[in-house]
């Protein structure tokens, strides 16, 4: 019995090893399965794995290679743990690419400590910090989530188009708020606008009359609130409305939620905002494809599918699974020219590439990679009418 087991195990190992050499490629999925975003990551991982099994099932990746996902925990906040997990994936599992990491802090750490030294491609679905745009990455780092610097620019464009040239600005006092406020202020002033005051507010404080008093004194056509809807942001808006300091506002993604409609109703009429979103048919196809297997509308799940798909398409384009070979092809498959590729079309895309054709991967989130390999970002511009958020257009 014992001999039989050993023999079977050995045979399996041998078969596995033989298999791995020719027909199997491993991709790492590093997400915070424990930690602050643990409610999102199962859906993100499922999205990425769906892309992998789609490619494996098609049998068209580099003459019928199978893609095997390997999960690891980034914890979202512990850079040391995330780096160790990534190191294990690369050195002992031998992954050829990494879908991840998720939060901006650990993503930066994994990139500089593990991915760059080992020369492995990393595509993050959810790190949005502007700082990652300028990080030293040897062309190995990409992201399917837009940088907040991009949101600042979009926000400046929207306000300019609406004829707002002088705005007051307040942000929640953390990395997100500060980063977004700075990128917006720079973009807005480049376009000829004036930011009359750029001041922080602390979340969860007792009273915001001092902040609102200062902002009212500075004046402006409207007030931009780069905060959180369930935190101090709403307190500032409430105080500004009550004192009559401002009656129109502009809200970036952190402020947009149904709580705004519930709390303020038609008092916000005429205010505007933007949040990530796309009207590309890819989003619906992705939801359809996922069916009941996981929640495809969960935040960053579509971005995860796209991140995994990009890695595999780039491998096909390079004709190699080695990061050093395929890293230069990621931008090519993501952008025009070429046949547009939506979720569920990965088999077709692999075939076109194998035949020497071009593809323009659109995916679930209308991917368009710009500059240092990050998503151009698609935003949904909204306006408040009769106490409801209405979509104006997509950018």
């Amino acid at each position: 019995m014992k001999t039989l087991l050993t023999a079977t195990a050995t045979a399996a190992l041998l078969a596995g090893a033989a298999h791995a050499d020719d027909h199997e490629v491993k991709l790492g999925i590093i997400l915070g399965f424990t930690g602050p975003i643990e409610s999102l990551t199962p859906h993100m991982a499922a999205g990425a794995e769906m892309a992998m099994s789609e490619v494996s099932d098609s049998g068209k990746l580099l003459d019928g290679m199978t893609v095997v996902p390997v999960r690891a925990d980034s914890t979202c906040i512990d850079a040391g743990a995330a780096s160790a997990a990534a190191e294990r994936l690369i050195t002992s599992e031998g992954v050829k690419g990494i879908m991840g990491a998720d939060c901006s802090g650990v993503t930066g750490a994994v990139l500089s400590n593990v991915a760059v030294p080992n020369g492995v491609v990393m595509v993050s679905p959810s790190a949005t910090s502007p700082a990652l745009s300028s990080v030293e990455d040897n062309g190995l780092f990409f992201r399917t989530a837009p940088s907040d610097a991009r949101q600042g620019e979009i926000m400046a464009t929207i306000l300019m188009e609406r004829g707002m040239e002088e705005v007051a600005l307040t942000y929640t006092n953390n990395d997100y708020g500060k980063g977004l406020a700075d990128s917006f202020a720079t973009a807005f002033e480049d376009k000829g606008g004036t930011v009359t005051i750029n001041t922080a507010h602390e979340d969860g404080k007792a009273d915001y009359s001092a902040e609102v008093g200062a902002m009212a004194s500075a004046g402006g056509d409207l007030l931009v609130v780069a905060g959180y809807v369930d935190q101090g942001g709403s307190g500032v808006v409430r105080s500004a409305l009550d004192t009559g300091a401002f009656d129109t506002f502009h809200f970036p993604d952190g402020m947009i939620g149904t709580a705004l409609e519930e709390n303020f109703g038609d008092a916000l009429d005429g205010s505007s905002g933007q949040l990530p979103g796309t009207d590309s048919p890819g989003g619906d196809k992705f939801v359809e494809l996922a069916g009941d297997s996981f929640d495809a509308t969960s935040t960053f799940a579509p971005e995860s599918y796209d991140a995994a798909a990009l890695i595999m398409l780039a491998m096909q384009a390079a004709g190699s699974v080695e990061s050093g070979d395929y890293k230069d092809h990621v931008m090519d498959v993501a952008n025009a020219p070429g046949e547009k590729i939506y979720p569920g079309d990965l088999g077709k895309a692999l075939e076109i590439i194998a035949g020497g054709g071009d593809v323009d991967y659109v995916g679930a989130t209308a991917v368009e990679l710009i500059g240092p390999g990050e998503s151009a970002g698609n935003y949904r511009e909204i306006i408040f009418e009769d106490g409801k958020m209405e979509t104006v257009k997509y950018r």
Partner: protein, 337 residues
Amino acid sequence: MIDLLNAIVALSNFVLVPAVTYGSQLALGALGVTLIYGILRFSNFAHGDTMAFGTMVTILVTWGLQALGVGFGPLPTALLALPFGIAACMALVLVTDRMVYRFYRAQKAKPVVFVIVSIGVMFILNGLVRFIIGPGDQRFRDGENFIITARDFKDMTGLREGLALKTTQGITVVTAVIVVALLFWFLNRTRTGKSMRAYSDNEDLALLSGINPDRVVMVTWLIVAALATVAGTLYGLDKSFKPFTYFQLLLPVFAAAIVGGLGSPLGAIAGGYVIAFSEVLITYAWKKVLTYLVPEALEPDGLVQLLSTNYKFAVSFVILLIVLLFRPTGLFRGKAV
């Protein structure tokens, strides 16, 4: 002349009215802290969460009344629910006193032990409130929102600046005045009030002259519960109810009590307004007001702001430090900390 009026209105709208309201809320909170300190002789860190508990019960009863269709005309229904909140809060503090503080009182524990114990109570109340009503924002304000809105004021007077006066701001100030008047009448004119002051001044002497200490302690807790619930409910009506914010409120409340002089009720009120006004005034940008007051040629380009609002919390603490350094007993000669 019109310019002068505009300047006054702008200043009232953004500084005077909000600061008076916030000051009243802080004063009511600080009164509770100062009474505990004066009579039970410890800093009660659970005060913010006691406020949250009383307010929570008030909110739950308000929702019940609203569901039954009971309203209070233009005034918020919460005022009708307030007595229930006060009663529940009184029950809570009496139970806590019985189960926790009485034991340490019998041991004649040092004040620092009481402080640590009250931190324990704080965490338990913290959890209790979140468990019952959840950690999120709750809104329970109804009735008329404004006595006068900024827009109506502008239309009425023809001035360029508006003055908004919220119903809750009016209620806060009026209620604060009534509560404070009642409290002072009670402390100065009634037998129980006098015995409380005697107990506060000199415990041994008070005991010798036949004052029942258990009764004094109980009455103190009852008054503190009432003050905490009223302060919490007024604050919640004016802003919004969120357990975490009430916990944070503890800092300015303590600052107010210490600046005024711990143990001195009058000081607590003065301290509340000093903290509120300093937070708003020192970080106020005077540009708008000055634009009305000075000739056009002298109009300021900058914001004319002494300190950025980012520093407003530093302001209260600097005042606290100055008071502790130069007048450790506070403005109104309370007990030394």
